[in-house]
């Protein structure tokens, strides 16, 4: 049999149902009635015991959303979403307020264990207190703000962070406890009117993380949140807001897994980052939502708005993402380079297999002087998937000395998938210097055979070649995530070739 034919046959036999995290935890949940109306918005706001100004903010967003239409420009196809046929709020019923891990529903902890999420490990790390002067051990700590469905169940490391003056808590709490900060920054990067999905999120967001790092503080640990959709038919609308004040530094990790589902699930998160003068934010994501089964049925619809504002001079925002899941990914983590000498970075690995559709990229908007940006995108398409890089690099008239370097590489596995690159480049300033490189290649049967002749299985060979392909981006991930991401990449390509 010809090599190509063999690959084609194998691709046809892909079993996307290998999805490792498809299980449902049996816990009672507290749901809003199906459908979306002002009442739904009021219900959510009341559930969160929100102040009046927050409800008003939500309602304003809701009213605006009613006037908007769903965008259709992305290279993704899906059946029309009936927004009245979804639940907009779901929370595990808290039996009581929890103050330590031991008080959390063991079912929930078990779920995290299955996912291999180190809540316990975090507690263990906590036990291994570094001796005075051993700063390195402390650096390895990860604080976890665990989001189970829509509500933050456990928040760890809070005290230690408080000592450093860092605020890290569910955004629902921040709305009550730090209203001034929230009022000042919420919606200041992604306004409620921004786009259909972000506006929807503004109306009905359930929870998410809030981080504030005060001036001159280097956050003493990596911050991490794990999201997981658990309730049937529940849209997920996280809202995350991270502020690094002057001279502050924070690194935030986000990881997602979701259980197997027949119905499509809508997920429309908004993440806002604000970096003031000399501040730096590093935001890393490993996304592994349920991609749908081998027939392309089910899977998460992931419509995310992530944007960082380099508001201050010499500020820096860096996005790193490893996207392996979701039936549909619509996601463009972007940087507004407002401050002079500010810098934006985007490092992305987007893998699609089965019937997945990915339309992802970034926007680098150069407004300040001598602003720089760098985009490294690695797209890998297998099975019958479609993988699109869509990116915008633009320099404003006043953005003298703007610099961008973009490299987009696509790798095709098999001959029934597609890779597309759609770069938009605009320079309204003659001193701007933009470079764009793009390559598309097919995974070479000869290279695979070379590896296999040395004893590797087909899957090991694909894993090795792909990990080599994405190496430049993997290197950008914090150590804790790099290993996990490497494994995830191999898992998500299982069965993609003969």
């Amino acid at each position: 049999m010809a090599a190509v034919q063999e690959t084609v046959d194998r691709v046809r036999s892909i079993d996307v149902e290998q999805y490792k995290y498809g299980f449902v935890t049996e816990i009672e949940s507290d749901k809003a009635p199906k459908g979306l109306s002002e009442d739904t918005v009021r219900f959510i706001s009341a559930k969160k015991s929100e102040p009046a100004w927050m409800l008003e903010w939500r309602l304003e967003a809701y009213r605006r959303w009613l006037t908007m239409t769903e965008p259709g420009w992305a290279r993704v196809e899906y059946p029309k979403i009936d927004y009245q046929d979804l639940y907009y709020y779901s929370a595990p019923k808290p039996k009581k307020q929890v103050s330590s891990l031991d008080e959390i529903d063991p079912e929930i902890l078990k779920t995290y264990e299955k996912l291999g999420i180190p809540l316990r490990e975090v507690a263990m790390l906590e036990g291994v207190e570094p001796r005075p002067g051993e700063a390195d051990t402390a650096k390895r700590k990860i604080a976890v703000d665990a989001v189970f469905d829509s509500v933050s169940v456990a928040t760890t490391f809070k005290e230690e962070l408080m000592k450093a003056g860092v605020i890290f808590m569910p955004i629902s709490e921040a709305i009550r406890e730090h209203p001034d900060l929230v009022k000042k920054y919420l919606g200041s990067v992604v306004p409620t009117s921004d786009n259909f999905f972000a506006t929807l999120n503004s109306a009905v967001f359930s929870d998410g993380s809030f981080v504030y790092v005060p001036p001159g503080v280097r956050c003493p640990m990596e911050l991490s949140t794990y999201f997981r959709i658990n309730e049937r038919n529940t849209g997920q609308f996280e809202r995350t807001l991270i502020i690094a004040d002057k001279g502050a530094y924070v690194s935030y990790l986000e990881g997602c897994t979701a259980p197997q589902r027949d119905e499509n699930q809508l997920h429309a998160a908004v993440v806002e980052l604000v970096a003031l003068d000399d501040a730096e934010i590093k935001y890393s994501t490993v996304q592994n939502w349920y991609p749908g089964n081998s027939e392309g049925v089910g899977g998460i619809y992931n419509f995310v708005t992530k944007r960082g504002d380099c508001r201050g001079a010499n500020s820096k925002i860096s996005w790193t993402q490893v996207e392996t899941g979701s039936a549909i990914t619509w996601k463009y983590p972007s940087c507004i380079l407002r401050g002079d000498n500010s810098r934006g970075e985007f490092y992305s690995i987007a893998i699609s297999n089965g019937y997945q559709q990915v339309d992802s990229g970034t926007k680098m908007i150069h407004l300040g002087r001598n602003t720089t940006s760098r985009i490294i995108s690695k797209g890998i398409a297998a099975g019958k998937s479609q993988n699109t890089y869509r990116g915008l690099v633009t320099a404003h008239r006043k953005a003298t000395g703007a610099r961008n370097f973009t490299a987009c590489d696509s790798l095709l596995i098999g001959d029934q998938c597609g890779a597309h690159t759609v770069p938009y480049v605009e320079a309204k300033n003659s001193s701007a210097l933009f470079e764009h490189e793009a390559t598309t290649s097919k995974i070479s049967e000869d290279v695979l055979f070379y590896c296999i002749q040395r004893g590797l299985s087909q899957e090991e060979a694909v894993g090795l070649v792909v990990n080599g392909f994405v190496k430049d981006v993997l290197q950008q991930l914090p150590m804790e995530f790099a290993v996990e991401a490497q494994k995830l990449i191999s898992i998500s390509l299982e069965g993609s070739v003969g």
Binding site: M1, A2, A3, E6, S444, E445, D446, V447, F449, Y450, C451, I452, Q453, R454, G455, L456, S457, Q458, E460, L464, V465, N467, G468, F469, V470, K471, D472, G498
Partner: protein, 252 residues
């Protein structure tokens, strides 16, 4: 005694075109066989069929490796059982350090044989020693496999892999192509270090000059998909002066 490799009446085609047409060959442990022949005789096809490359279809005959049906094994299993192919054109793998590749290959083979994987320190030590014996700079181990390597470096890297994986049957496909005389000597020296009484080798070459440095026990002439003549090492010298013309006409 069971032969290391026994090929009987092997027929193979690629994309419907017959390339091997009744090839017989027996290689015993400890022997080095040279296979010479004109372009298009089927030399590389033989090496790919032995290694199990997809796209090469065996339509008849059999191949026994230590008495077992080699053609029934998937290619990675053949590798784990001790079949090694030194490629004429070694492939490049961007982003994968040579050391990473060697680790993956060695441990994959060990897992398949039910052996324990080598720990990182053991592996690094073993690779470094092997590299040193072959005069390979440790810096090469950090470079992505074969990316930007010179022809000589690629072939030396193949030899290093062969030394590290300790195969029973080495098939060297046109190892001399793309090498100047100095590089050729170095690679041949590496191959000669691997000659042993447990190991058999098939050295495929178009030119006699490689056989000045890797001296074979037996020389075969392959033409139109079958062995048409077999002799001692002097046969190679004869071919050097007469060329392949007579074999091509015989086949035609």
């Amino acid at each position: 005694m069971t032969a290391l490799l026994e090929i009987r009446n092997l027929q193979a085609e690629i994309a419907g075109r017959k390339i091997l047409d009744g090839l017989d060959l027996t290689v015993n442990a400890g022997e080095v066989h040279a296979i010479m022949g004109p372009n298009g005789a089927g030399k590389s096809t033989l090496s790919y069929v032995l290694a199990g490359k997809p796209g090469y279809e065996v339509t008849g005959g059999e191949v026994l490796f230590k008495g077992e049906d080699l053609l029934a094994m998937p290619p990675d299993e053949r590798a784990a059982k001790g079949v090694f192919l030194a490629f004429q054109y070694p492939l490049e793998i961007p982003g994968v350090a040579t050391m990473t590749f060697l680790r993956a290959a060695l441990n994959a083979q060990r897992r398949k044989r039910g052996e324990e994987e080598l720990s990182s320190p053991d592996l690094v030590k073993r690779v470094r020693e092997t590299a040193k014996n072959l005069g390979i700079d440790a810096e090469m181990l950090r470079r992505p496999l074969n990316v930007g390597f010179s022809g000589g470096e690629k072939k030396r890297n193949e030899t290093m892999q062969m030394a590290l994986l300790e195969p029973l049957l080495c098939v060297l496909d046109e190892t001399d192509s793309g090498l100047d005389i100095d590089a050729l000597k170095i690679v041949a020296n590496g191959v000669n270090q691997l000659r042993s009484k447990e190991r058999g080798m098939i050295v495929i070459t178009h030119y006699q000059r490689l056989l000045d440095y890797i001296v074979p026990d037996i020389v075969h002439v392959l033409s139109a998909g079958r062995i048409v003549r077999t002799g001692g090492k002097e046969l190679a010298l004869e071919l050097e002066s007469t060329g392949y013309a007579q074999y091509q006409s015989e086949a035609a």
